[in-house]
């Protein structure tokens, strides 16, 4: 049966992959569990802060310019895209409402997360992957240090804690970028822009955006560290780990965003009822 052979091989490979996936997911869950478990211990120890601060600098401080630039351009583009419709309806002075709610609750955290995944996720996977293939992770273990606690936990904490702060920067620059285009390019007035924005944008919008950012940051940290810790040998292995860290983080941001929106909407209805529809 010469034709059956490639088919059997393909089915066998498919089966292998199917069995591999739950095992991979299980390994990721165990890795995530330990990375998160060491988090509180690192936060209460001086040694933990010694590991955390350099990560906060490289993950947080160095990401500020790119995140601010992203936030500013998102705000600016939103004004350009929506101005003519608002103007036609005679509501141009309320353009800040739609732009800032979009930026604070959705676009700010998502785009800041994606930028963070691109800038930090790949770099983390590359750094840890290189340490893995040059036996530095083994060296840590041989010295009695836990590599997960020593390397993954500080990076995870830095991503988790700084993603919301970076999102605040993106939100702020988004609002300023939109205001700049509205007033300087379209000749709108500042006062109604800020007045209607302050009336419409609630702490809830800002808060939900920050909660989303917290999840996105945590996911980026865990995925990137896992990919670095488990990369294959050689330059190709490290390169692949970087790419996978970014792609999986990107997809996870979108998936998490969808499910978080479902939960947040339920919560909103539970807390405020249908106030949004009635007002």
């Amino acid at each position: 049966m010469p034709r059956a052979k490639p088919m059997a091989l393909a089915i066998s490979r498919l089966g292998e992959r199917a069995l591999e996936m739950p095992a991979l997911f299980g390994r990721f869950c165990i890795f995530s569990f330990w990375t998160m478990t060491f988090g509180p211990l690192e936060l209460i120890s001086r040694r933990g802060w010694r590991h955390l601060m350099p990560q906060c600098f490289s993950i947080g401080t160095l990401s500020v310019p790119v995140i601010m630039l992203t936030g500013a351009f998102v705000g600016m583009v939103l004004v350009v895209q929506s101005y003519s419709q608002f103007d036609t309806a005679g509501l141009a002075d309320r353009i800040g409402v739609i732009v800032n709610i979009s930026v604070a609750s959705e676009l700010g955290p998502v785009l800041a997360g994606i930028m963070l995944a691109g800038r930090v996720g790949g770099a983390l996977a590359a750094e840890l992957g290189t340490m893995n293939v040059t036996e530095q992770l083994l060296a840590l273990r041989s010295m009695g240090c836990n590599p997960v606690r020593h390397l993954a936990t500080p990076r995870f904490l830095a991503c988790l804690l700084l993603a919301p702060i970076l999102t605040l920067y993106a939100d702020l620059l988004g609002a300023l970028g939109a205001w700049a285009v509205y007033t300087l390019y379209y000749g709108g007035e500042s006062e109604p822009y800020w007045f209607y924005t302050s009336q419409a944008v609630e702490y809830w919008d800002l808060g939900t955006g920050l909660v989303k950012a917290l999840f996105f940051g945590g996911a980026i940290g865990l995925i990137s560290c896992y990919k670095g810790f488990h990369c294959r040998a050689g330059a190709e292995g490290v390169g692949r780990a970087c790419t996978e860290a970014f792609v999986i983080s990107f997809i996870m941001i979108l998936v998490l965003d969808f499910f978080l929106n479902l939960v947040i909407n339920r919560l909103y209805e539970g807390i405020y009822g249908f106030r949004g529809l009635l007002l």
Binding site: R47, T134, E135, Q136, R141, C145
Partner: protein, 265 residues
């Protein structure tokens, strides 16, 4: 070879990766204060054996003892006190790129302690260890600024920079990638450390010159089993075909088969 008080003992250790058997029923006792060298061709399981000693790999079957304490079944946490008595010099040195030479050397001690008094003690020990390997002025340099030989010596300094000093140092291919002169420096350093600190050494290498120079005892690993064991002279004068081929650097006929196609093309 009979050893009355072994510091490390492997009893019937077997290890396989997938279908590939790497170690088969290995029995090995390492003598305290001596340097034991394990030789063998590439890919024969020497580094795998070394990693079993410090618990970086667990045997599929068999037992590993450190000073009469069985360690192969211990958790990572329970292994920590054992690992802090054993130092490992890796083949690729495994220096931390983000740290200076001094920080690399001080790493284990810094991770164990905090406090100002300890800081001074660590600094003086780091200086002493760097002096011992001939790198006194290298404290502030980064690993990327060092040559291969210098990196190796920093790895040695890191291995001995423990308080109390390590009981055992494991060397994985210590002369790999070094020119003969640098390799000689490394060999003399291994000897020097053994005499100065009375530390037990286990060296894994396929560099015969190095093996003879540093070893008090030589073992040859072949396809996952020891096929020769004795003092360096015993091995050098061995008539065993596999040992002779390894010493003389002559390929086995089965290794050449893949290079010469059987149809004569």
């Amino acid at each position: 070879m009979n050893i009355s008080d072994p510091v490390i003992e492997l009893r019937r250790v077997s290890k396989a990766f997938g279908r590939q058997r790497v170690l088969t029923d290995i029995d090995l006792a390492i003598e305290r204060g001596k340097t034991t060298v394990i030789i063998g061709r590439s890919g024969t399981g020497k580094s795998v054996l070394l990693k079993h000693i410090v618990g970086l790999l667990r045997p599929d079957r068999g037992e590993v003892y450190f000073e009469d304490q069985r360690i192969d079944h211990l958790s990572e946490r329970a292994l920590t006190p054992v690992r802090r008595q054993i130092s490992f010099v890796f083949q690729l040195n495994a220096l931390f790129d983000s740290m200076s030479v001094a920080e690399n050397v001080a790493f284990t001690m810094t991770e164990q302690r905090t406090g100002r008094a300890d800081k001074r003690k660590i600094q003086s020990l780091v200086r002493h260890c760097l002096e011992l390997v001939g790198l006194s002025d290298f404290e502030h340099k980064r690993p990327s600024e060092l040559s291969g030989g210098e990196k190796k010596r920093v790895a040695f300094a890191r291995a001995i920079a423990l308080d109390p000093p390590p009981k055992i140092i494991l060397y994985d291919e210590p002369t790999a990638g070094l020119d003969p002169q640098r390799a000689d420096v490394v060999n003399k350093l291994i000897r020097h450390l053994q005499h100065e600190m009375n530390v037990t050494g286990v060296v894994v290498t396929h560099d015969m010159k190095s093996a003879i120079e540093v070893g008090d005892r030589l073992l040859m690993l072949w396809d996952g089993r020891f096929i020769a064991d004795g003092v360096p002279d015993d091995l050098v004068n061995s008539k065993q075909a596999q040992v002779r081929r390894f010493l003389d650097g002559i390929a086995a006929p089965e290794d050449l088969k893949m290079l010469i196609p059987s149809n004569g093309r």
